[in-house]
């Protein structure tokens, strides 16, 4: 049994929830197949593998995994909400390319420290945070148009102009 699975099962029991087949399968899939995923990608992966777990259950399970500290949830405008396995990974932030949608990760301890400082100053108790930089990745800067064609709806909605 994998480490995250162990932790999830413990967390479920501690919270008076049941350790069900479906919940374990969702966890396994998320951790085995993805680094970043949108819900639909996970659902389709489960369907392809004939996992026998419904979309509804996925939607009901993900918040538990977030609360258990095993997944992190991210909301931007440019992509749909996405999740990423968090267990055992160093905390990091994201740069999202508005052209191709690629996600780059970065770490900065100093920024983390400054955030804590700010929270203390405001007596604000931090639970989580999101730092995302939207922009154009190195590769897309040298490309005239977007690889996926010009301006998908999400980009227009966000108001992301070309440079």
């Amino acid at each position: 049994m994998s480490r995250p699975q162990r932790r999830f099962e413990d967390w479920l029991r501690e919270h008076g929830l049941r350790v069900t087949h479906a919940r374990v399968v969702v966890l396994e899939h998320a951790f085995r197949n993805f680094r970043h995923f949108e819900i639909n990608e996970l659902v389709e992966s489960l369907e392809r593998h004939r996992a026998g777990v419904s979309r509804a259950t996925v939607y009901r399970t993900l918040p538990h995994l977030v609360r258990a500290g095993l997944l992190r949830r991210h909301d931007v405008g440019i992509r749909q909400t996405f999740y990423e396995p968090e267990y055992g990974r160093k905390h990091h932030e994201h740069m999202v390319c508005v052209r191709c949608g690629k996600i780059l990760e970065f770490v900065d301890d100093e920024i983390e420290r400054l955030q804590e400082e700010i929270c203390q100053r405001h007596r604000f108790e931090p639970l989580s945070h999101t730092l995302q930089i939207q922009g154009v990745c190195r590769r897309c800067q040298t490309t005239a148009a977007a690889p996926g064609g010009p301006d998908p709806p999400a980009l227009r909605r966000l108001g992301a102009d070309g440079p």
Copy 2:
């Protein structure tokens, strides 16, 4: 004519778009009545004032205002997407209380600087960024339950546990 309005009209013309009554009214309303607003709040405000601008037009206008640099758009999980007037305000970030939904602002030049440094290092061209800290505001820390009742759906979805 207000400064932001001037700027919007110029921007529209520069982009070959028309300066219509509806567009101007949306801008005025957003700037006159709100510091932070969700789309529905703006729509309802327009309806109350019998502004005669439809919801569809609001949805079509907001992205223009973002592109014109007059509004900033924010996506979290805890609240619906919200916008805020940006013109003439110092750049700032947000702390969002997961209990009462209140939004606190803060500024930190050092964090801004570090972000630029990181982008340079990765040859990533930044267009905008989002830094949000989700947590419990000072007032809600001393309150047993949430002022608005316990755990609205959005909080559960996000996976926001109490402390």
